[in-house]
C-alpha cells in the first residue's frame, strides 16, 4: 500500500465508525438508512483500496442502491420515527 | 451411470422450481403434478443408489471437473445417503399429503410447491456437500425457506414467529461465516476432508474459538437450547405439512451439519461434553415446557425439540453405540414426527383455537386421523411394538455403555413426562364428550394414503427392526471412520 492509500484507508475507517454510530443511534429512520448507505459507500471504496473490485462493484450496486431503497420503501410504508 | 448421479438430487428440484411458474401458465394442474413426479423420481433414485452402495466406497461427485480440494464435491456415503433417502421419501409423502390441500383452505399453491422444492434441494445439499462454505449456502436456503413459509398464513401470529426466527438465523449465519473465515485463513482450503487433514496443525486456542463459533451457529439451526425460542412459534404458525417438513427434513439437515462438522472436520477436545450438557438442558427445558402447553402444535413442537436434544445426547457419547442410537432416533423422529404433524394438521384445522381441550371426543368424529395421531403418540413415547421403542432401547443401552447413569435416570424420567402429556391428548380424543360446535374436515384420500404409509413404516420397523439396523450400522461405521472419509474424498493424499 502506498502512503496515499493508507491515508485514504484511515479516513474511510473513521468515516465508517461515524456512519455506524449514526445508523444505530439516529431516531429518524430515514437518516439512519442514509447512514447505512454511507457505510456501504465507504465500504465500497475500501474494497477498491483492498484490491477487490468485484466486491466493490457488488457492494456499490446492492449496498448503496438497492438495500437503501428497500429500506426507504419500508419506512415510507410504516413509521418514520423511532419512538423513544 | 448418468441417470443415477447424486447431482440430480439438487439440480432437478432447482430446475423444476425455476420452471414451475411456466408450467402453471401452460396448464394449471401441472403445478401440483410436476413436483410429485420429481419427488417420486428422486425417492426412486435415492433408494436405488443407497441400496447399491458398496460399503467403504461412497460415491464422490466432483463439480466442474475439478478434483475435491479445488472444486466442490458431493459425497453420497452410507451416512449421508441414509439421510438423503429419508428426506426424499418424506418429501414425496409431504407432497402426497398436500397435493390437493386447496380443499382445506390452502390457496397460493404455486408458491408453496416452489418453496417446497427449493427446501428439499437445500436440505439435501446440506447433507451431500463436501464443502464447508457450500454447506453454509444450502443452510441459508433452508433458513430463508422457513422464514417465508412460517409467515405463509395470514391472520395468525405467523409474522412474529418468522421475524424472531429470522433474527436468530441471521446471527447464526454470522457465526458460521466467522468460523469459516478463520478456518480458511488457517488451512487455506474449504473442502471438509482437506480441512480435516490440515486441522491437526491449527493452534489449539484458535481451534477452540472456531469450534465454539460453529457450535453456536449450527446449534441454532439444530434447535439447541437456549437458541431455540423460535421453534415453537414457527412450528405452530406454519401450515401442517410445512411443520412436518421442518421436523422431518430441516431439523435433520441442521443436526447433520453439526455432527459432520464435529465428527469429521474438526476434532476438538471437550466439544462433545459441551454437546452432552446442551443436549440434556435442551431435553429438560423442552419436555417440561411441552407439559404446560395448551396448544396442540406448540406441544408437538416442544416435544420435537426434546427429541432433538435426545439425538444430540446420543451423538455426544462419541461411541459406536451412541451413534447407532442417535441414527435410530433420527430415523424415528423424522418418520413419527412427520406423522404427528400431518395428522395434527387435520385435527387442528377442525378446531377453532387449536387448543388441546377443543379436541374432546374427536376419536368418534374423526376416527382415522385420531387413530393416526394416537399411533404416532404411542410410537414417539417409545412403547412396543412401534419403532420408537427400539430407538429408546438403543439409547438406553448406549448410555449404559458410556457409564452415564444419571443420564439413564433422566431419559426414563423424560419418558414418563412424555407419556403424561401425550396421553392427556389421547384421553381427550377418546374418552371425552365432544363439543357441539365443531366443523369437521375429514382428510382427503391422498392425506389418508400419506399417513397410512408412514404408519405402516412405523409398525413394520417396530415389529421387525432388522429392516433398518443393518443400514444404520453401516452408516455408523462410516461416520466413525474419519480416515476412511478423508481417504475416499482425497484418494491421492499421502497420509504422512
Amino acid at each position: 500500500m502506498t502512503n496515499i492509500e493508507i491515508i485514504l484507508t484511515i479516513v474511510s475507517l473513521v468515516l465508517l465508525i461515524i456512519a455506524g454510530f449514526f445508523a444505530v443511534l439516529k431516531k429518524d429512520l430515514i437518516h439512519a438508512v442514509v447512514a447505512t448507505s454511507v457505510i456501504s459507500l465507504v465500504l465500497s471504496l475500501m474494497f477498491y483500496l483492498l484490491q477487490a473490485p468485484d466486491v466493490a462493484l457488488t457492494e456499490a450496486a446492492i449496498g448503496i442502491a438497492l438495500s437503501t431503497i428497500i429500506f426507504i420503501i419500508t419506512v415510507r410504508n410504516t413509521k418514520r420515527f423511532e419512538d423513544k | 451411470m448418468v441417470i443415477t448421479d447424486p447431482v440430480y438430487f439438487i439440480a432437478l428440484p432447482l430446475l423444476t422450481a425455476f420452471l414451475l411458474p411456466l408450467f402453471g401458465k401452460i396448464y394449471k394442474p401441472l403445478i401440483g403434478i410436476i413436483p410429485g413426479l420429481v419427488f417420486a423420481f428422486l425417492a426412486y433414485i435415492s433408494f436405488d443408489l443407497y441400496l447399491n452402495l458398496v460399503p467403504g466406497k461412497p460415491i464422490i461427485i466432483q463439480m466442474a471437473g475439478w478434483a475435491p480440494p479445488w472444486g466442490i464435491n458431493l459425497v453420497f456415503s452410507e451416512f449421508s445417503g441414509l439421510i438423503v433417502t429419508l428426506i426424499t421419501f418424506l418429501a414425496f409423502l409431504v407432497w402426497v399429503y398436500s397435493y390437493n390441500f386447496k380443499k382445506v383452505g390452502f390457496d397460493n399453491s404455486k408458491k408453496y410447491f416452489t418453496l417446497l422444492m427449493l427446501m428439499v434441494a437445500g436440505s439435501i445439499g446440506v447433507v451431500l456437500t463436501g464443502d464447508i462454505f457450500n454447506m453454509f449456502v444450502f443452510l441459508e436456503i433452508t433458513a430463508i425457506y422457513s422464514y417465508g413459509l412460517t409467515a405463509f398464513y395470514k391472520g395468525r401470529d405467523s409474522a412474529e414467529a418468522a421475524f424472531k426466527y429470522l433474527l436468530l438465523g441471521s446471527l447464526s449465519s454470522v457465526f458460521i461465516l466467522l468460523a469459516i473465515l478463520l478456518l480458511y485463513k488457517q488451512v487455506g482450503t474449504l473442502n471438509m476432508a482437506d480441512i480435516a487433514v490440515k486441522a491437526q496443525s491449527i493452534d489449539p486456542k484458535m481451534k477452540s474459538i472456531i469450534a465454539i463459533l460453529f457450535f453456536v451457529g449450527l446449534g441454532i439451526e439444530a434447535e439447541m437450547f437456549p437458541m431455540n425460542g423460535w421453534v415453537p412459534d414457527a412450528y405452530s404458525q406454519a401450515p401442517g405439512p410445512v411443520a412436518a417438513s421442518f421436523a422431518g427434513m430441516l431439523a435433520k439437515s441442521g443436526i447433520y451439519a453439526l455432527i459432520r462438522v464435529f465428527y469429521t472436520v474438526l476434532e476438538v477436545k471437550g466439544v462433545f461434553d459441551l454437546l452432552l450438557i446442551m443436549g440434556l438442558l435442551t431435553i429438560i427445558f423442552a419436555e417440561f415446557s411441552a407439559m404446560r402447553q395448551k396448544h396442540l402444535r406448540r406441544m408437538l413442537a416442544y416435544s420435537s425439540i426434546g427429541q432433538m436434544g435426545l439425538i444430540m445426547v446420543a451423538f455426544s457419547f462419541n461411541t459406536k453405540a451412541g451413534i447407532f442410537a442417535g441414527l435410530f432416533l433420527m430415523f424415528n423422529h423424522a418418520i413419527i414426527k412427520t406423522l404427528l404433524f400431518l395428522s395434527s394438521g387435520f385435527l387442528t384445522y377442525s378446531t377453532k383455537q387449536k387448543k388441546i381441550r377443543d379436541l374432546d371426543g374427536f376419536g368418534k368424529i374423526m376416527p382415522f386421523t385420531s387413530l393416526m395421531f394416537g399411533l404416532g403418540a404411542f410410537a414417539i413415547v417409545g412403547l412396543p411394538p412401534f419403532s420408537g421403542f427400539w430407538g429408546k432401547l438403543n439409547m438406553l443401552v448406549a448410555t449404559a455403555d458410556s457409564n452415564l447413569y444419571f443420564v439413564i435416570a433422566l431419559i426414563l424420567l423424560v419418558a414418563v413426562v412424555e407419556i403424561v402429556y401425550y396421553f392427556k391428548v389421547i384421553g381427550r380424543l377418546y374418552f371425552r364428550q365432544q363439543h357441539k360446535d365443531v366443523e369437521v374436515h375429514n382428510p382427503t384420500w391422498n392425506a389418508i394414503l400419506a399417513m397410512s404409509i408412514l404408519a405402516i413404516v412405523i409398525i413394520g420397523v417396530g415389529i421387525y427392526p432388522d429392516l433398518i439396523t443393518d443400514y444404520l450400522t453401516k452408516a455408523t461405521n462410516e461416520l466413525f471412520d474419519k480416515a476412511g472419509y478423508i481417504h475416499s474424498v482425497l484418494p491421492n493424499l499421502s497420509l504422512n
Binding site: L13 | G148, V174, L177
Partner: protein, 120 residues
Amino acid sequence: MQEFLTYSIYGTAFFLMLLGLYAVLMKKNLVKIVIGLTVLDSGLNLLFVAVGYISGGTAPIFSPAVVGKHVIMTDPVPQALVLTAIVIGFGVTAVALALVVRLYRKHNTTNIDEIKNLKW
C-alpha cells in the same frame, strides 16, 4: 505500520459488527433492528476482504497489462465468498423488511414492546 493497520481495520470491522449486534439486541424498533443486521453484515464483509488482502498484491484479474509478468495477487477466495455473502444478505434483508411491513399492517406499530408475541 502493518500492526497498526491490522488493529485498525480489524478493529473497525468488529466495531461495526458490535454496533449492529447492539442494535439487534437492544433496539425496540423493527426497522432499526433490520438496519442493525445490515450494519453487522457490513462489518463482516469488511473483515472478509481485509483478511484476504495481501500487501503489494493487485486485484486478481489477468488483464492484458499483467499477463506474462510475475505479479502478486490478493487472495480471490474470500472475495468470491463475500460476493455470495452480500447477495444472501440482501435476500434476507428483503424478507425481513417484508415481515416488518406485515407486522406493521397487523399491529399498526413498529415497536417490539407493543407486539406481544415478539418479546422474549
